[in-house]
Amino acid sequence: MELLVTKVVGWTLILISVFMILRFKSLRKSMREGMKSNRQTFFMFGFYELILGLLIVTSYNVWEVSYRLIITLIGWGAIVEGIMLIAFPKTWLAKVVNWSTRGSLFMIWALVGLILGAYLLVQTGSMF
């Protein structure tokens, strides 16, 4: 189970980071426009993200200083982000989205995700 969680989180981080870099402009534009006109999409996404975060945290809540901490933190981050997407009013959420989709910050998160994903996959020993 631990190995499976590590592999899935690692591959997911790599996939999403790669497409964040490749489709940077389009993703940023559609996130900002979507925030203006489609609040309900973010609301729905918040529920999914909350479920995924709760799944990770309930099955894998390891607090020790090694690669396992990354997965625990990602799970807690998903819970916090899910609650934010569900609970925040539109104006707050628009501020968060505008702040976090600035070019430099967006690229930094994508690179961090790529490095963390690759690190997790190296830790599992076999990537597939």
């Binding site: 997911t12 996939l15 490749l22 489609n38």
Partner: protein, 158 residues
């Protein structure tokens, strides 16, 4: 999850080559679980498709005109997570019902990556091509048959 290194002579990154053989012997439990989930999913969605394809078709047309591109990114992320969960847990290539689960996992992964990668224009083209009523009926029938077959093979009495 069943990754046991039996021969040290393999390079570590090629371990998936012998994991296929090991899976066939020990890992029936996850096959049966995934077969139940996917079989019921296929049966339920096929019936819903057959009953409500007109509404679904209309709603998809509305969605395509609405320029709600961020929805596609979200669906892409979640579909690829589901695909990765199935593929990394269950990558069995045999000639019985288990290979259907593997193929469905790979299809989910490919679809998720396509959602993440394709520009909105391509997506509109694909949906306009696929959004025909006979297409829905054909896929619903295929899905029902495959789902019922998988369920019957894996768990005849649930």
């Amino acid at each position: 999850m069943g990754f046991r290194q039996t021969k040290k002579s393999y390079p570590r990154f090629l371990i998936f080559l012998n994991s296929v053989k090991i899976y066939n012997e020990i890992d029936m439990e996850s096959s049966i679980f995934l077969a139940k989930v996917m079989g019921w999913y296929l049966v339920i969605t096929s019936v819903v498709l057959l009953l409500r394809y007109k509404t679904l078709r209309r709603e998809i047309n509305v969605f395509i005109k609405g320029q709600n591109a961020i929805m596609i990114f979200f669906f892409g992320a979640f579909t690829s997570i589901i695909g990765l969960l199935v593929v990394l847990n269950h990558n069995i290539w045999t000639n019985d019902y288990r290979v259907i689960i593997t193929i469905m996992g790979w299809l989910a992964l490919i679809k998720g990556v396509a959602y993440l990668a394709f520009p909105w224009g391509w997506f509109v083209g694909i949906v306009n091509w696929a959004n025909k009523h006979w297409w829905y009926v054909i896929w619903a029938i295929i899905g029902f048959i495959v789902g019922a077959y998988v369920l019957n093979q894996a768990a005849p009495f649930f």
